[in-house]
């Protein structure tokens, strides 16, 4: 085992694998920063180039590229409030307010360092968990997956920034959006208004861009200043952001593990990992009032989970040949091109290749974060450019990001509609994250519910893990309300004491 582990490390640094990894990093860097160009599309485009490569070379190129997109996608989320990747939208919530406060450097430092920690934890989880993962994953059935989605939805209360009722309504609206399209059970058209475009449902990217980026662009243009309203020590404390990662070590590690776990579950995907990590960062924090206004913990959680999920994704792909996301399905294609069959062989005969995957994730993230830190000075200066010059650039960026989801102008209309909704919500103090969480988890919850009922009747409700998850969900709903009630009672008792 140890020999294979070390051989995996050495093979990553051999030529031409290392050179191809650097090329992959360069491509992934651009893909991550440019909105709309997803890791899946790029991976599919690059797959044919791996036909003539050796296994480790091919994975150094593809996985190197993939690992970087998750890291650099956070950069535009922090600097402009426009997600570079669909999976980096949650970073906007606190990263962009930090940028506006002149703390772009600190936010980027935190995002990058937590990404690195997350990637390392996810990668080593892949290495450590492989021998025991099979019974764990096989013990989870559709009822447990349904309850996991319900637990995720109950985080809505935590994401409501104190306005729990409005947060629950926003979460309900998100769930309503997730119903748009063909019903997976009966094929009934739900809220499609006879439009073929809506049969597939509402895409997450135009909704996210509309809700989060459009209001920020309007605000930026109205104020007419730069994004950073004040300067905090030129690059605003990159080192402080790095220190924050270790200062809030618990948040970083827990969100990394959460990301790894979510990554292991087929169908859950990167967006969910990030939003759940954000919700966990809020929920586990004693002081929730600063979230959404530039709390560094709101950057650390999503940053860590976004990268650690790659290790989790790989666990099921490598061990069982079950790709948990579209990206992993494409990577599975690379396995087959290389003549590798995921499953027991990857844990015995080809164990060194499995360990090389671990090392590729670790090494690419170290290189990427190192390169990013070198250029952070220049990147942060963009936030001091006058708003008038940035606004057309940002408008084009959001249009491209929305368009490339399905290559149709209708996505632009969806983005504009949600831009209007997002602006109204911001102005009136309605929380936006619950709406996204509802959209992300709604369809999944419904599908798993019907599968559970179809397979187990109502007996699934009495499975031990389902009961545990149900209790967690109830606690997640009740805790914020109880905490608010206790807070009010405490305030009243203090006033009475005076």
């Amino acid at each position: 085992m140890l020999e294979a582990f070390l051989y995996g490390l050495v093979s990553v640094f051999q030529w031409p694998a290392f050179g191809l990894m650097l090329l992959g990093i360069a491509i992934g860097f651009a893909v991550g920063i440019l909105p709309g160009l997803g890791g899946a599309v790029t991976l599919a485009l690059m797959l044919p180039f791996t036909f003539t490569m050796q296994p480790v070379e091919a994975f150094a190129f593809l996985l190197g590229m993939l690992s970087v997109t998750a890291t650099t996608g956070d950069i535009t989320s922090v600097l402009f409030g426009v997600p570079g990747e669909a999976t980096t939208a949650a970073t906007i919530l606190d990263g962009y307010p930090m940028t506006k406060r002149g703390e772009a450097g600190r936010a980027l430092g935190a995002a990058l360092m937590s990404s690195l920690v997350g990637a390392v934890i996810g990668a080593f989880a892949l290495a450590a968990v492989i021998p025991v993962v099979q019974p764990l994953v096989l013990s989870l059935g559709t009822p447990e997956f349904f309850m996991l989605a319900i637990v995720g939805i109950t985080f809505v209360a935590s994401l409501s920034s104190g306005a729990v009722r409005r947060g629950l309504i926003a979460g309900g609206l998100g769930l309503l959006l997730s119903f748009v399209g063909l019903d997976p059970q009966s094929g009934t058209q739900r809220f499609t208004f006879g439009l073929l475009y809506l049969w597939e449902g509402v895409s997450l990217i135009p909704v996210t861009i509309g809700l989060f980026a459009v209001p920020e662009i309007i605000e930026l243009a109205v104020k007419g200043t730069s994004i950073a309203e004040r300067r905090v020590g030129e690059i605003g404390g990159v080192l402080q952001g790095v220190k924050d990662t270790f200062r809030y070590w618990g948040v970083t590690v827990r969100c990394s593990l959460l990301g790894t776990f979510v990554g292991m579950i087929p169908g859950l995907g990167g967006s969910i990992a990030q939003w759940l990590a954000y919700a966990h960062a809020v929920q586990s924090s004693p002081d929730k009032s600063r979230f959404g206004q530039g709390d560094v913990r709101g950057v650390l959680g999503p940053g860590a989970a976004n990268n650690s999920k790659e290790g989790g994704n790989l666990i099921t792909t490598v061990a069982f040949g079950i790709p948990s996301t579209v990206v992993m399905a494409i990577l599975l294609g690379a396995f087959l091109i290389q003549g590798l069959v995921p499953g027991p062989d990857m844990l015995t005969k080809n164990l060194h290749i499995t360990f090389s995957l671990v090392w590729i994730i670790v090494v690419t993230n170290i290189i990427t974060v190192g390169v990013c830190f070198l250029f952070l000075n220049q990147l942060v200066k963009i936030t001091y450019v006058r708003a008038h010059l940035l606004v057309p650039f940002l408008i084009l960026l959001i249009f491209i990001g929305a368009f490339t989801t399905n290559n149709t102008h209708l996505d632009l209309l969806v983005m504009l509609a949600f831009g209007a909704l997002g602006y109204a919500m911001v102005t009136l103090g309605w929380p936006r994250p619950p709406l996204v969480l509802g959209l992300v988890l709604g369809k999944l919850a419904e599908t798993y519910l019907y599968l559970s009922v179809g397979r187990y009747g109502w007996e699934w409700l009495f499975r031990p893990l389902v009961i545990v998850l149900l209790l967690i969900a109830l606690a997640a709903v009740c805790y914020p309300t109880l905490a608010a009630w206790r807070g009010r009672k405490w305030d009243l008792s203090r006033l009475g004491g005076r």
Partner: protein, 172 residues
């Protein structure tokens, strides 16, 4: 007497209630298989929205604190501009975003994006002509060469050229 914020909140909440009620009414026509989960979600959400609407109508809802101070206390919104001016400017920017969409739809991404950028800088930002033209040209080149040619993003041609039966060297 309601403030402008309270009127806006009331209107928005009414909009949410109407959307949810229409959605519930539509879903009642579905089979239980297709409608069960939506009903489970829509009924309580509509009830919560009605509760919120009643609170708004009774003027019980307060505007959100815009920011938090160093000690976490609520700090009122510091506005450099009067609310009316903010709303007027906000509507102007929203109009420009719509204008970008119309330009892109009519002329295609590269040409529409480039022209709209130059127009925004000249009309809204009152930048000098060389800056506007350079910016617009740069946007066109990046969109055309980088996004369309190199990354092969299938930008649709502008519908205006279709209507007129024209064909540009690179498309819209």
């Amino acid at each position: 007497m309601r403030t402008a914020w309270q009127r806006a909140e009331l209107l928005f909440c009414l909009f949410v209630v109407v959307v949810l009620a229409l959605a519930l009414w539509t879903s009642l026509g579905w089979s239980p298989r297709a409608g069960l989960f939506p009903w489970v979600v829509l009924v309580p959400t509509l009830a919560l929205a009605l509760w919120q609407l009643i609170d708004d109508a009774r003027g019980k809802t307060a505007p959100p604190a815009a920011a938090l101070g160093e000690a976490g206390e609520a700090v009122p919104l510091e506005q450099d501009l009067p609310a009316g001016e903010m709303a007027r400017r906000g509507a102007g920017v929203a109009g420009w975003i719509l204008g970008f969409f119309v330009a892109i739809w009519l002329l295609g991404f590269p040409l529409g994006g480039g022209l709209a950028s130059a127009a925004y800088l000249r009309i809204a930002a009152r930048e000098r002509w060389p800056v506007c033209l350079g910016y617009g040209l740069g946007a066109y080149v990046v969109l055309e060469l980088f996004f369309r040619q190199l990354l092969a993003i299938p930008f649709a041609d502008g519908v205006l050229f279709e209507w007129l039966g024209l064909e540009l060297p690179f498309g819209g």
